[in-house]
Assembly symmetry: C2
Homo-oligomer: 169 residues x 2
């Protein structure tokens, strides 16, 4: 199973403003994100990201995607029958046994957990044309170092570029 971290980031590496604002992420980027999720059929997110995602209209299109929410909150209200709860990154991956690809899609703390537990094989970061100084980091507060190999780049729109990396283990 290939585990892929997929995120939109500002040029300065933030996935959201400090108040969780992601309104600066373009519609094209949300489309790219939901396309990747649909293709994989398997998505892992943290609790706050789950709450944010469920406010996005594109989220409705993910009805065939198995979504696992990683949270310690055992009574978390799940919003659809294809949504499941796990208490850790490793438990989440076990719930996808047999899937060829799983997309890890934030937030920053969940990303950091996956990276520091050495669970991520590839990363896609879609760089949005904005810089804002402070916010929620890609791998918030993570205490690790991972070297990467650049596998490719892709222009998403005139101003948005996707960087694709292999994580060296």
């Amino acid at each position: 199973m290939k585990v892929i971290l997929y995120m939109a980031i500002s040029v300065d590496g933030f996935i959201a403003k400090s108040n969780d604002d992601t309104s600066w992420i373009s519609k094209e980027e949300w489309n790219s994100y939901s396309q990747v999720a649909r293709n994989a059929g398997a998505l892992v997110v943290g609790h706050r990201t789950y709450d944010i995602l469920t406010t996005q209209p594109e989220f409705i299109e993910l009805k065939d995607v198995k979504i696992v929410v990683v949270s310690n909150q055992k009574d978390l209200a799940l919003k659809a029958p294809n949504h499941f709860l796990a208490s850790s990154p490793k438990e989440a991956l076990r719930m996808f046994e047999g899937a060829p690809e799983v997309i890890v899609a934030g937030g920053g703390i969940l990303n950091a957990s996956f990276m520091s537990e050495n669970l991520v094989d590839e990363m896609y970061v879609d760089v949005e044309p904005i810089v804002f100084g402070q916010g929620i980091s890609l791998c918030k507060g993570g205490n690790f170092e991972k070297r990467l190999t650049l596998l490719g780049t892709k222009q998403i729109t005139d101003n948005e570029i996707q960087l694709h990396y292999k994580v060296l283990k």
Copy 2:
């Protein structure tokens, strides 16, 4: 005068680790950086970046580059006759009057000051193939929002890509 922010960053947007470590920046990247500085002939840096830069062997090659250090420390020891002291970004730029280009080259707090004072025209970020979760942000603690236009990308080495942006004012 065109003011250009030029920095190497990790994929997650850090210009240094929390302990100022920049050993993860490649030699090719330092070469690219000093080439840009030589071409412009005009460099602005903060105090800590000045201390870090002066430990780099490539720094010796910058003997024809006018370097202005922005610091409130009035007795800061400058290390060469082509180095000058300014107390603010605007004062630094006044010291370069008539120069066609000035390179703003960190650290994060200085970058944030230049960005929040709306002084930056273009940005080059050279993305190093590494992610480490926490460190000194590109525009550390900045409280601003700047939209950008992607002007181009350039492969520096197999694993390093340069993103070039215009800052919308």
